[in-house]
Symmetry: D2
Subunit: 484 residues, 4 copies
């Protein structure tokens, strides 16, 4: 899906999770929920269900609709309880074994596990687990969690999993499934989102509330940072086993990852984005004829910018919806043409005009130049680029697929240099405080106790990077390359 | 692609055509051009090229990107000249033989032919051709044109094709390809669009100008109603062989079919749609909090409506871009959930508000109720539906896949009845004159010599329906059902 | 399927046909019949059925089981009457349009046509048909027959088809299907086989009787050379419209093409092959320890040779049955290993022994050397090759895919030279008279009125090669390359 | 592949293994070797290679040629060392994770493991491993071996694996692969075969010698029961770590499993089968006209029977080689026709004759009746069935997919009853001593120390059935059903 240049220069979320308890056709509901979370990961998806006797798992590469589009696939996933996962590929991982949920057969019965996030000490833990005789069949952090759970001496699976998670560092939203329980956990700093909903009497857990809407479930609340919820036939129980919890929700969820119609961490994403656009208009006004969003992530901020500035909002870039997984592998003759497969400048709104282009962020900056060229080619008189977030200067290790510092344009260039590089007449990034204000913090960032996880703008690594500091990357031992 | 309820109730264009002459890698350019025309037909596509010695054809069911996404497929289509076609399925036609361009081996060499449109005397002609011994291997009108061309006694292929077209009635934009010529023809009333462009020194013909943008070609002009252009190594020649030409461009191209970034029949589609929205705001104002387009076809009219009314434009319905060809075949338990696979109400922009919903047209009305229910479910206080065209009351036979009169809601109900049926607080259709004004006719429709083909609103069948009058439907003889 | 070296050097049959009239589920019966005829053509297959109102056609590349293996495919082919075809690829023809049966819509209704064989004046006829305005959509001879039928002024389809066939030269077994009739025709010299059977009250026509066995039908008789049978609800009618008929059945059907369990042209193939092996043992005895057939076509002759010679028959070459359509595309390192994918020498029966290798024929001779090397590598002391037919010296144009004379080893070398070339200690070809005796002609070949079509051994072109003499090859006009 | 009734009633081997050390393009060689072993398992296959730095694994469902037929798949499997596996499905196992080789990342580096056979205490071991915290991601015995290896405190991987295998009971031929070693092990009683070969300087290990022939390798010797061979850059080392070894090779390898051209356990399979046929002729002569093998497994015994009896051998049943994975799903109308998809009676050799039918074994007896009916339908005067092994009366748990006792016809009926049930005029099973004589034991079975594993004929469970006795079946804990 990300075969278009407009997506090439985005950060990529790594996962979405969805679970439902005590409903007819759990698998069908989960498939719909995962479909609504498809933007959080397009590479692979899986569902595990249980009918309280056996477990059923189906995991594949592909889009949710491709994998779970056939009734017979859904029918094989029996049971009223289940969890699902959709993922974005991380390094090296085209392996068919690297898809969640994962399953293990314990003493007390089966256990399925799925998570969104990233552990910063997974490599270190993995090494010591291997030393004591554990066998790994994937390269996923989730398997580290599973081994730790397996080795816990606690009786109850909930306590086992908590004991396991007390040993890990990182950002995670975890779903667990036993024959009789569904467990949801959000990391102590609440970096990754997890929300609770209800469909009639059935509890639902999901990364974002848009996954509730697709099945008609009602949004109840966010799971809190460090909270463990245990859902059984008797209802829902909340546990808070972690000390030192804080709320440092990933601010990029509001900027780009989450769907605009979702409510996460207490706010609606579309409204946050509009407010961010309003802050941007205040900080970086422009004398222009038209406000043009870079679709689709720039649209709400552009509407906000238009409202505050009074300059008309127009669809100056038109999207072609008929993009499949592949398109023409360009021969040398037409390679330069490839740029416009998915979008086209709407010349009638551009020609002879002074244009404000609104984008949510610039990461590598590799494609901004192409967009600017396309708009320039459609006859724009002036181009003023406005970015609805601060410069991305630091890599982020808490659940996002991220370039290294050397690839980040703002890590290497000043704003003026970037403006020149991408060919705009002016360039304005939203300030960090402006971003926080857009996110509802009237006084901007509290630098002593920052309200969000904003590492990529600040370098504030608030969860320790154990593996990196210890020199481990989880791959110190032999590497397996399995083709999927 | 049309697996979502929002598309279920649209009229469907039947075809798009694209041709290019004297360029390296003609097939790659055509594939890109067809991709840009994908909205005109998603069922099948084909390309015919020639290297001036042999002809090469590749035709398949599927999206352009699926069919022509592999370099080796493109590589087999040798030559610097070629034409392509993308089509929407018509009745019964899942046949693999029913894909254009079609090819025939003539005395003087090969000839490939593709067209967008519909002949109203195809059945009658087909019957008499069969009587004289012609064999048909498809059920397409294009094959009738090919047989007539084959039987012409003219020497030159251009004259043969003209002689053939003088025998047909209907709406058509035709592309023909010989070893040394590319021919483009628009029917005498100019119902279907065909535009001329240039990529460096190479001429290009396409249904819409958006297909020029994708390859970086320059838009030159519309082919005129009844005009024949012949492109050879010596340049372009224009012929006007038909008497009684008029310009009755299909007004639904402006309302819904064409891409907003295209220029066709002298105007930019996005601008026309915005003006239509402005006319709609004047004719049917609403006391409301927010203007919400039904994506994506309602967006330009909604922006126009918002500008004129001063009521803010918001994305109150969010689109999920990850829709493949299939999705979950719902079991009985979840059938009711299927409605929201592709779109979701953006509750924060709807709840407690008085909402103006903007759509381009209502055909059967089968899905408007579902949209309204979704918006109502998201907490709208009032819903005012505004339609950017008049009531669709008559079937249309000039190149559109169209329901029968009994299926058209406005053919059977008054506006008030429709409003009640779909559950809105108020409903306003744009008037015919308002539509014409939006299309640039300041004085509205000239009822003596109407400026557009508007049959579905008026019942003005300006091209005679020969087959229907004569009782022939082209299927009077034995029917073949070939599975593709 | 023919991806193994043992098949590389065989002549290939071009087609098999099968039709059934008035039976429940005609398509399922035809699919089984075509499966039994799969050895006559593995590239593509098609079935046309009629429920006496509409016609249904399904045609694809692939094996019969691949194409017709799904119940839903069969279910779409409605009706109690139908004909089918399986084909071996001829020149250039990877086109999806080049699959039979073909269909045309006539005045009087639909007509489907399929044939096994080859016309020697197809190119000449095609040229004059094109000159008068006929359009060809395939490159198959069958389409020439269809056009001639279409142009006939006869009222009745049977007479039209007969009139058409009176204009062609060549070898053919034709099946035709109208709403109410099934027609079977064998060419005036009876070169290609066609047999009549009965399943309860339903008549069946097939290339070979083995196709009757698979559906439990009873073999009735051969269709005679030049005979036309017309099967209707009233029964079967036989017409003999051609003058100058003779019986010159293709002798290669007995040598290699037909399945050993079939009865064609009055004899059982297995028995003929055994008798041929007996003749071979008489003509070319060998002082050896063991008789080893080259599987599978050499087996019956080897059993016959063993019986006559008294030397034990052993499976000295073992076949691997798990060969799919593709296998490892060998890199340079292992290219030499590819030879043994399908067969292996059975060392225990070869080592230290004097071996008689029995093959049905040698065409190019390209692979005989590899077989001999394999046997030599397994430790054979002596290798005596015995061939159950005379040297193949002339190309054959009556329905076989055939190399040119320059590729035929026996057209360029003496028997001694061939023996040296392929590395055997002795080589013996059966004489022409020996072959005829094996085929039941006690006095051998009647050189004045030869009893068989034996052109590839004799150069006796008993059907005139019109196209070749006239310089036409049917491709004199522009060539279309359609990718399938 | 086993979609034909003639295969429905056979016992099925569970696996074949192949490894090669220090050769260019190890993966290509392994793919060829596995292809030659395809008869030992058609459901799935996998290859693991190492370039002494990384490991590469590719595992899939399907035939070897389907999985490894593309050069790019082979190219991704880098390295000069590797092992491969082809498997027949066991219970429940359509899981994509249940394919070998399996891989684990140890302290000292990666380790890949594959085996043919079955452990009789796998369930018991699995339970205690889970209790101590091991996680299982497959249901294969191989993973039990891997966990035991992982937990061993030995330094050297060879000793670890030996220590692991000392804890298991069962029949196995194991291949292991580290960065620098290839290990081959045969269980202490040598139930499953494993042979050693050499291709130039590269050592090869395989289940059967036919896998050497396909790559041109030389057969060296059998691995001995209980022998461990360790192949490194320095050559081959042999270890005998197990006490109490014996040689009880599975006699069914000679009867049916192994390919006739293989040498295993010291003998050529074809020769053994011929001798078995000779013994059968002596024990159960018949007054008949013709000896007809049931293809293909009955052929060598039939040749032996023919030689001894003097009655001519004929191919009375003809095989259709064009059988793919699927064929027509028969509707009710034609279900009865399905029986002849793969074979047909050769009527000319059957009609009016007294026929001896030779088969290797009868398991359930479900299809013998159908064969007999087919032969009777082709006109046989008398049918005498002769079986080249004793009655199968007991289930076998040492590496064969086997019905339960209640499904075995000979466990429930006398020979006379079976004869009546399948409709033959006479039925003769080879005696146990006759079978042993055919296998080269002149004095028949040594009942004190039987020379072969012959449990299915005798009920002699010479390896203890730990899981069954202990009530464990390895599935006592929660079951996972993963769809592949």
């Amino acid at each position: 899906m990300h075969n278009d240049f407009l997506d090439d220069d985005k950060l990529h979320e790594e996962c979405g999770v969805f679970g439902i308890f005590d409903v007819n056709d759990a698998a069908a509901h989960i498939a719909l929920g995962l479909h609504a979370l498809q933007h959080r990961g397009q590479e692979a998806a899986g569902i595990a269900t249980t009918n309280s006797e056996e477990f059923y798992v189906h995991r594949r590469h592909g889009l949710v609709g491709e994998i779970f589009g056939k009734q017979k696939v859904i029918d094989r996933l029996e049971g009223r309880n289940g969890i699902g996962h959709t993922r974005y590929s991380t390094t090296g991982g085209n392996s068919s074994t690297n898809i969640q949920p994962i399953f293990a057969d314990f003493n007390f019965g089966g256990f399925a596990l799925a998570h969104n996030g990233n552990l910063t000490n997974a490599g270190t833990l993995r090494e010591s687990l291997i030393k004591r005789g554990s066998i790994f069949s994937t390269t996923m952090d989730t398997e580290v969690m599973m081994h730790l759970t397996s080795l816990s001496q606690e009786e109850c699976i909930v306590n086992r999993l908590i004991e396991a998670l007390k040993q890990v560092h990182g950002a995670y939203a975890v779903l667990g499934l036993t024959k009789e329980k569904m467990i949801g956990i959000r990391d102590p700093q609440g970096v990754r989102p997890l929300v609770l909903g209800k469909l009639d009497e059935s509890y639902v857990l999901a990364s974002e509330s848009c996954a509730f809407d697709i099945i008609g479930a009602e949004f109840i609340r966010d799971i809190e940072p460090g909270e463990v919820v245990v859902i059984t036939a008797d209802g829902i129980e909340s546990i808070k086993p972690f000390e030192n919890t804080a709320n440092r929700f990933c601010i990029f969820e509001y900027i780009y990852f989450a769907r605009p119609d979702s409510f996460v961490n207490g706010q609606n994403v579309y409204q946050v984005r509009k407010r961010i656009g309003q802050e941007l208009a205040k900080e970086h006004p422009a004398n222009a004829d038209v406000i043009v969003p870079i679709p689709d992530s720039g649209v709400p901020a552009a509407i906000g910018y238009s409202e505050t500035s009074g300059i008309p909002f127009e669809l100056g870039i038109i999207r072609n919806h008929y993009i499949g997984r592949t398109f023409i592998e360009p021969g040398d003759q037409i390679r330069h043409l490839g740029v416009k497969l998915k979008h086209n400048a709407n010349r009638s709104m551009i020609e002879g005009k002074s244009v404000v282009l609104i984008d949510d962020s610039i990461v590598r900056g590799t494609t901004s130049r192409k967009i600017v060229d396309m708009i320039r080619g459609a006859g724009a008189k002036e181009i003023h680029m406005r970015i609805a977030s601060p410069p991305v200067t630091h890599p982020y290790f808490y659940g996002i697929d991220m370039p290294t510092a050397s690839e980040l344009i703002a890590s290497n260039m000043s704003v003026d240099e970037i403006a020149k590089q991408i060919g705009v007449d002016s360039l304005g990034y939203l300030s960090l405080d402006g971003l926080y204000r857009g996110c509802g913090e009237e006084n901007g960032r509290n630098n002593k106790n920052p309200q969000y996880s904003d590492t990529c703008f600040t370098g504030d690594y608030h969860i320790p990077l154990i593996d990196q500091e210890g020199g481990s990357n989880g791959n110190s031992t032999t590497k397996l390359r399995e083709t999927g």
